[in-house]
Symmetry: C2
DNA sequence: TACAATTTTCATATCATCCTGAAATGGATA
DNA sequence: TATCCATTTCAGGATGATATGAAAATTGTA
């Protein structure tokens, strides 16, 4: 009912409308980026809204603004909190929870990169090492002497080398968002 | 019918079986990586099979080995060829097409990165620039003097800065796979 | 040209994912 | 403890993506 009352103390309604249109475009943009960041579209839209408004919004605000159901907002907000992209804040005298996005883009990027690394890349490296193991002379015995086995061992090893090096780079750059920012600025200019 | 006759001239069948198990693991691995690389799972599996075997396989070989339908294999193979990860090869005296994966992991990585950049990142940058435009003083007029508008302009600008710098890095590193390899090795060790 | 082998296309079916809404839970107040 | 408000959970439904298989198109061969 009383979903939209919080902010916007004084702007004329036509101005508000203009700003809301831009918000919409921005949320759509986030939506399109979701696959790239490896998060679900709705999670991305909610985060986009929180980032661009810079405000602490309640579940009802978000439901109304993005036209999605309560349960959906609830689940995606908890994921966002879990990822560290959004934090819960409270307003005194109000029982509801409000949610606010991080404001530092470098920090957000670092968080997402680390989550993906932990959830996707690390398990892949583990599996790949096991594959390499399975193709090693110790496991294959005499079979390892065939051309076929040797070639496969080499291919797995090369892939492992690439991913390991990437992983080690990522570890260094994403340890803190300051590290990332410094590195990128350095590399991008020169 | 005569799907699997081509390679493997002399290995005992138990050895073949061992190797096929490893192939399976590798294909599964590729499957799991598909989201990370931004390609569909089946496309990834086919490519995984072609990469690990190092052989030129026909559609029938792939259908049989991965248990997927002809149409599916056909469509995904043409995508792989389009991306440049796989090439069509011919065997003399055989009307069928055979398909072979690139063998250089750095080259493959560079291809995928460039495709994603072109398909996903570049459009995002375009849209983001339009968002920034919509929030600029020129477009907003007097409204741009409000705190709200100023804050949003700043947020969009910061995001744009981050993505632009990333984009410029990517352009340099992914121009050729040699560039990437050299850069990663340099950064990873020191 | 007619034929046969192979590949491509695409309407339909299948599947996985995501969303909804209502019931269950939690937790503050009196 | 009883009540009220907010949040979470989850079974079932909606949606979109992917796979199938048979018909159409393509390409090489006689």
């Amino acid at each position: 009912m009383k979903a939209t009352k919080a902010k916007a103390p004084s702007l004329p309604s036509s101005a508000l409308q203009r700003l809301e249109e831009v918000e919409d475009h921005f949320v759509d943009l986030w939506d399109n980026m979701s696959a790239l960041w490896g998060i679900s579209p709705t999670m991305a839209r909610i985060h986009g809204l929180l980032y661009i408004t810079g405000a602490a919004l309640s579940m009802d605000d978000i439901m109304a603004r993005l036209a999605i159901s309560r349960g959906n907002v609830s689940m995606n907000l908890s994921k966002l909190v879990e990822w560290g992209l959004v934090r819960r804040v409270h307003k005194r005298g109000d029982r509801r929870d409000y949610y606010e996005s991080l404001s530092d883009v470098w920090e957000m990027f670092t968080l997402v990169a680390n989550q993906r690394k932990r959830r996707e890349i690390d398990p892949i490296l583990t599996t790949l090492r096991r594959c390499k193991e399975e193709l090693s002379p110790e496991t294959l015995g005499g079979l390892a002497d065939t051309d076929v086995a040797r070639q496969r061992y080499r291919r797995v090893t090369e892939l492992l080398t690439l991913l390991s090096q990437m992983e080690s780079l990522a570890r260094r750059f994403f340890e803190s968002h300051r590290g990332l920012r410094a590195a990128v600025e350095l590399l991008a200019q020169e």
